[in-house]
């Protein structure tokens, strides 16, 4: 039992990472119907910014701040120079998708060029001493930090989307972009904001993973990016709570399979489970079949 509870905790902290990345996929998809394949690499950018910020001896809040702002600027720039010109020319969706894959390869190879392909240890910022809870469950400080900060980010995002003017405009754009423009919404501005928020969340996840694992490399975004994308689809692509839930389920499935079955089966079973969910509900857990929403 305590073993099970322990794995739940582990699953939630891994799930936080997937959920934070999945949010960027789902928000961008909700707004412009693009699967931004460069998003996993934005998370890698966040991890590297965090790495250098810690090495420079900056305090934790400032590290997170930088590791969110720099990826946000990357996201903003990629959208502006790579995706926007295609949109303005009404390019087919496949062109945007190929461009996204191109941006992903660009970021990965830029990382290899600048930082070498070798993994490097993330600075140890916290003691490894876990905190013991009743029932034999232990939680490490990086795990607590991950869970707490992820909760803060998710709650802030939810409130932002629900109550601010910009959040309402984002929901409107995802439901009917043309009608939103007729209301006077500047759609380019909303798209920029979406990329900024999504990329900042991925950047935060990058630092968290550095603290949790703790090892980073330029290609580290590929697998988590893929899994987070699948998580977003599971939750219902375009739906924010769906990305949160999908990410958590993904992390949980992976952790439980590793703990109780075998780590070789980890990805196969995790993905298999997700296929089953999609067979039952093709539009994802929170997805509506007719429409996608933020």
């Amino acid at each position: 039992m305590s073993q099970f509870l322990q794995q739940i905790v582990n699953g939630l902290s891994l799930g936080s990472i997937y959920a934070l990345i999945a949010l960027g996929y789902t928000m961008v998809y909700g707004i412009i119907r693009l699967i931004n394949f460069a998003h996993g690499d934005i998370y890698m950018v966040g991890a590297f910014v965090g790495y250098f910020a810690f090495r420079a001896g900056l305090p934790l809040p400032l590290v997170f701040f930088l590791a969110m702002v720099v990826p946000a600027l990357f996201g903003l720039t990629i959208e502006f120079f790579a995706y926007r010109p295609l949109r303005k020319r009404n390019a087919p969706r496949i062109a945007a998708l190929i461009t996204a894959i191109g941006m992903s390869l660009f970021l990965e190879n830029l990382g290899i060029l600048l930082f070498s392909p070798d993994p490097r240890p993330f600075p140890r910022v916290f003691t490894n001493e876990p905190i013991h809870f009743a029932g034999g469950v232990t939680i490490s400080i990086p795990q607590i930090l991950t869970l707490a900060f992820t909760s803060v980010l998710m709650i802030s995002l939810t409130l932002f989307i629900r109550f601010t003017k910009t959040g309402k405009a984002m929901r409107a754009v995802s439901q009917d972009a043309e009608a939103a423009q007729l209301m006077g919404v500047n759609i380019d501005r909303i798209i920029s904001i979406t990329f900024v928020i999504g990329s900042a969340l991925a950047g935060a996840a990058g630092v968290m993973v550095g603290i949790l694992i703790p090892r980073i490399e330029p290609l580290m975004g590929i697998m988590p990016g893929l899994k987070a994308f699948v998580a977003a689809v599971i939750g219902g692509i375009g739906v924010i709570p769906g990305a949160m839930l999908g990410g958590m389920l993904m992390g949980m499935a992976e952790t439980l399979v590793t703990a109780f079955i075998s780590s070789t089966w980890r990805d196969a079973i995790a993905f298999g489970l997700l296929i089953v969910i999609l067979l039952i509900k093709p539009s994802g857990i929170f997805g509506s079949s007719s429409r996608t929403k933020v």
């Binding site: 423009q181 209301m183 006077g184």
Partner: protein, 210 residues
Amino acid sequence: MRKGEIVTLIGANGAGKSTILKTISGLLQPREGKVFLEGEEISALAPHQIVARGISQVPEGRRVFPELSVLENLVLGAYQRKGKEHLNELERVFELFPRLKERKNQPAGTLSGGEQQMLAIGRGLMARPRLLLLDEPSMGLAPLLVKEIFAIIREINAAGTTILLVEQNAHMALSIAQSGYVLETGEIVLSGSAAELVRNEEVRKAYLGL
């Protein structure tokens, strides 16, 4: 178009009426020709800049945001207005459409077709436009409801908003408009005062079924 009037644009399905409205609103760029608002050329402006100049469109098929509440839909209509400026307009819209007030917290997608049309018009008014573009507000509505909507269009106009009313229901449209244009396959083929158009032989045959 003259200020203060209701002008109607009538034409069969596919004549290009919605295309004209989308071009005015900046959703489409004109391939040729220009759009002017009180002497200022607005052809190349983005949709949000057109709204800022006082032109609102109530699009064909209502296009309310189905998962936003009625109130959120209305507030979005006033997207470019600062602070609490829009609250007066909200009062006015609720006076025009009391049913929207009763349902203000309901998702717009759960409203009936007539209520959605009211919401779409109310949402268009929230920007306090100088010129309101209405694209087939009678589409798919029962005759009684059409009457109600048209009475409200007249009321909105009487309060000082210029209206460009696109309709297939030429009879209703000409009954409230001061002047009109007839559109066929993308070309204006006739124009004149509403009274002239109602008397016109071709209009009577083709659009009024007389």
